[in-house]
């Protein structure tokens, strides 16, 4: 059923696609220019909450470490490991406010996103970065990795770049150009258990839930905003919050696959 619905919405995307493509080509350039505006936020508010998951967990993916065992280890790996705590809370979920056009400034480390390949794993597994940021990629292993980034558009994976790093110590930098999605998947074709995610945002009102599923986003100017949560495996959640004087709700972002 979910499958069918996705299929249908993909179809819709495809039909709209032809008309939309030309528009996106222009909009792509336009969004880059109509940039987020950094201002001093006085009396900004802090939004807190928790990310939870209640449905049936999907079966974990087990991929055998089939090569380069001296450096990569042995056994099997779940490329996208999911851990839901006993109180249903979920770690490593993106929580983002939608449609903020001005506010606080981006802080490190997000301004200089980095990804490291070490013992045939990507570190970090998930991170946040400004749209069109330059990603710095380092190989610490004495063997070939190829860093392969895709923009996830519905069910389509749109190739962003694919760079070989055949030796330890190699560093590459590449701009993360996307057309219409915020979600970037990173793979290594040489080691099919390696996986990482980057969430690109127009503005810094975005965070990751901690190990206990908690999150907080500070310095939010007044206004009514949509808040979204996204997890690479456990799906999405959406809520609307009015940021105004007085007590703010402690959000429960309930993920749905």
């Amino acid at each position: 059923m979910v499958q069918l619905r996705e299929e249908l919405s993909r179809r819709k995307f495809v039909v709209a696609g032809a008309a939309a493509t030309a528009w996106y080509a222009l909009a792509g350039a336009a969004t880059a220019n109509a940039a987020y505006q950094e201002i001093n936020v006085s009396a900004g508010r802090t939004l807190t909450g928790r990310v939870t998951f209640h449905g049936t967990l999907p079966k974990p993916d087990e991929i055998t470490i089939s090569k380069d065992n001296t450096h990569c280890g042995t056994g099997s790996v779940d490329p996208d490991p999911v851990k839901v705590n006993s109180d249903s809370s979920v770690h490593n979920t993106v929580v983002a406010i939608q449609g903020i056009s001005k506010g606080k400034s981006w802080q490190t480390p997000h301004t200089t996103p980095r990804i490291i390949q070490e013992r045939c794993r990507f570190v970090p597994y998930i991170q946040l970065a400004p749209k069109r940021a330059v990603l710095e990629i380092t190989n610490k292993d004495p063997l070939l990795h190829n860093i392969h980034a895709y923009e996830i558009i519905g069910r389509a994976r749109r190739n962003m770049f694919n760079i070989a790093q055949p030796a330890a110590g190699q560093v590459d930098k590449h701009i993360m150009k996307t057309r219409r999605s915020n979600i970037v998947e990173v793979d290594c074709d040489a080691h099919n258990w390696m996986s990482a995610w980057i969430y690109l945002s127009d503005h810094p009102y975005v965070t990751l839930s901690d190990a206990k599923g908690n999150f907080s986003i500070a310095d939010i100017p007044a206004g009514k905003f949509e808040i979204i949560a996204w997890h690479p495996v456990l799906g999405k959640a959406k809520q609307t919050v009015d940021i105004k004087p007085g007590t703010l709700p402690n959000l429960d972002m309930k993920l749905k696959i």
Partner: protein, 248 residues
């Protein structure tokens, strides 16, 4: 006399330029050309690439790899760095040559179509793909007189092409068994000794593929990982796997 002749030659030359590079200069902005391209596309391409260019034409399901979803604007055969748009010439070349692999022809050659029709198709494909600006090709340094095949073999080892293509280039590398394309369909690193290349078998084609990768596939870009003379030697080595007398 001379003047008279050049007054014929110049317009002819202009006509030639208009026909062969005019659309390239117009860079997808010419609505008449785009409309002409669309008409030819519906006749020649839609059966595989779909009426919307989404790669889902009625004949698509029997092909592997599938006909490209042109809307995504991702191209394997580029002279431009990984992640960049192809040049108009790259697309013109693909349409002219078609695409054949060791598994046979997947996309027919359209060299029978008049050049102006193929340029109109380039304009239309770019519009479907959302390409507003062509990419900038990589530098292609002068080809050496002969290839240093021993160096080429060394570079093949150093760059670990063997991980996918195998120690002897037969497509049997340890990673080859788990490769997938952007659509998560199985894809294989080709047996380089078969001498069948999607983007052409000229040394400069191989140089370009190694430098820029084939976007949407596991084949990565190696541009910054070896010096130009090393990539030339490697290109010669790759070709020597199928052509014994590459240096003659």
């Amino acid at each position: 006399m001379l003047n008279k002749r050049s007054s014929i030659i110049v317009p002819l030359l202009l006509l030639f330029i208009a026909q062969y590079s005019g659309p390239a200069l117009a860079a997808g902005a010419d609505p008449a050309l785009k409309a002409a391209g669309k008409k030819i596309y519906m006749r020649e391409c839609a059966a595989c690439h779909g009426v919307e260019g989404d790669g889902a034409g009625p004949g698509a399901y029997i092909l592997n790899p599938r006909p490209r979803n042109l809307q995504l604007g991702v191209f394997k055969l580029r002279s431009t760095p990984t992640g960049e748009n192809p040049t108009d010439q790259d697309l013109f070349k693909t349409i002219t040559r078609g695409i054949s692999s060791m598994a046979g022809a997947m996309m027919p050659s359209f060299q029978e179509l008049p050049a102006k029709d193929r340029w109109a198709l380039v304009t239309y494909v770019k519009a479907v793909a959302g390409i507003d600006k062509a990419g900038k090709p990589i530098d292609l340094p002068t080809k050496p007189r002969s290839f240093d095949l021993a160096l080429g073999r060394q570079v093949y080892e150093r760059l670990q092409c063997a991980a996918c293509h195998g120690v002897d280039g037969l497509g049997d590398g340890t990673s080859s068994l788990t490769l997938k394309d952007a659509q998560k369909r199985r894809i294989w690193a080709p047996d380089l000794s078969r001498g069948q290349f999607k983007g052409g078998a000229m040394p400069r084609d191989i140089y370009t593929r190694i430098s820029t990768g084939l976007d949407g596939t596991p084949m990565p870009a190696y541009a910054s990982k070896a010096k130009p003379n090393e990539i030339w030697a490697l290109s010669g080595y790759v070709l020597s796997l199928s052509k014994k007398n590459i240096n003659d």
